[in-house]
Symmetry: C2
Subunit: 212 residues, 2 copies
């Protein structure tokens, strides 16, 4: 067992620390955020910071870094109030990773990474055609984190698109069946293998497995 103190973390070389801290927190939700600028330019960026906030209304959060390529995403979300969330599968994880390159504002990451913008439903932002589980969302508000210049976007889900056979009778969306992958750190991509779905936990009651 290695023990690393706060002082040791703060004295790490910058890139080493970024890799260490980004990877130590666990596996993460992985998605491509699709946006459109006021001028009609498409933008696509990979995010690993989607987190659940509530089911009613259906809210989630996204962490946006202070100055990175994803700033185009933030600018577009603030300008238009809307964006798409597209899950990443094993066929497109390399393209998803490539969207993190620092493309110029006038370059579309869709074009650069050979992913296809698709417009369906009422959302003005582009979906990723090659993604199997997709959502459109509306900006609720932005929370600035003065601690390090990042911000959190709180958004509400507007529409969900997913394969017919991936929703269970109880509403459970089987993302393993849908082929959604997960990630760890800034660059490690993983498929999953279910251990089990477990029944609702109660004191003094044994857990049972829920069939999937």
């Amino acid at each position: 067992m290695t023990i690393i103190s706060a002082d040791e973390i703060l004295s790490m070389e910058q890139r080493y620390r970024a890799t260490f801290i980004n990877s130590v927190g666990g596996f993460k939700s992985l998605c491509l955020i699709g946006t459109i600028s006021k001028d009609g330019m498409h933008n696509l960026a990979v995010f690993n910071s989607f987190f659940h906030v509530g089911a009613n209304p259906p809210l989630f959060g996204l962490v946006i870094r202070p100055d990175s390529v994803e700033r185009h995403t933030l600018d577009n979300i603030l300008a238009t109030g809307t964006f798409t969330v597209n899950h990443v599968n094993a066929s497109i994880y390399r393209q998803a990773h490539q969207t993190s390159a620092r493309y110029a504002r006038e370059q579309s990451e869709f074009k650069a990474t050979h992913l296809t913008p698709e417009f369906t439903g009422t959302c003005t932002a582009p979906f990723v055609k090659e993604s199997d589980v997709r959502m459109s969302a509306k900006l609720i508000r932005r929370i600035n984190l003065d601690e390090n210049g990042t911000c959190i976007i709180i958004a509400v889900i507007q529409e969900v698109q997913l394969p017919d056979d991936c929703i269970g009778e109880d509403g459970f969306v089987d993302l393993e069946k849908a082929g959604t992958v997960t990630c760890q750190g800034l660059d490690s991509y993983h498929q999953t293998k279910r251990l089990a779905r477990l029944s609702y936990a109660k004191p003094d009651k044994s857990l049972t497995e829920i069939p999937c």
Copy 2:
């Protein structure tokens, strides 16, 4: 492809909607949060909302639900300013799930689920002995989300404990090697299988794989 609108989401039966929205967002970070009350009572609760906020200082966030068993966790964090984050592996995921049962405040989830509190380093809150990757953390601040009564805790990592052979030369923590599992929705637990670690993305440069 099934398309589900905002109106359809809002008209779902409450439990169905909670299952649906909690599971549609992707795979999540899974950890046990260990706390201690002012009176010395140990508490342990499973969380799936750990998210990365920054590497310097090493910040992360946790979403806390409005009224649930995890309220004991929030009370203890607010009272003591400190807590532990313990990764979940395949040997303890059932026990981790069981901590979500509504135990009374005077019951220790450690005792109820046969997990062992361990006190190491400078943190006054208990670690989970059976966990292989562990952190202690200090509360920075609480952000209330008036939209649904949840709150976000922003915290700074104080110490990291992990197996010697799971840190790479570049600082990458190999959580798959450490046996950390991921989860989806409120009750589905998954092991992972790496597709690849990919090199830092640059425009007009091909990605290569980073050996693990």
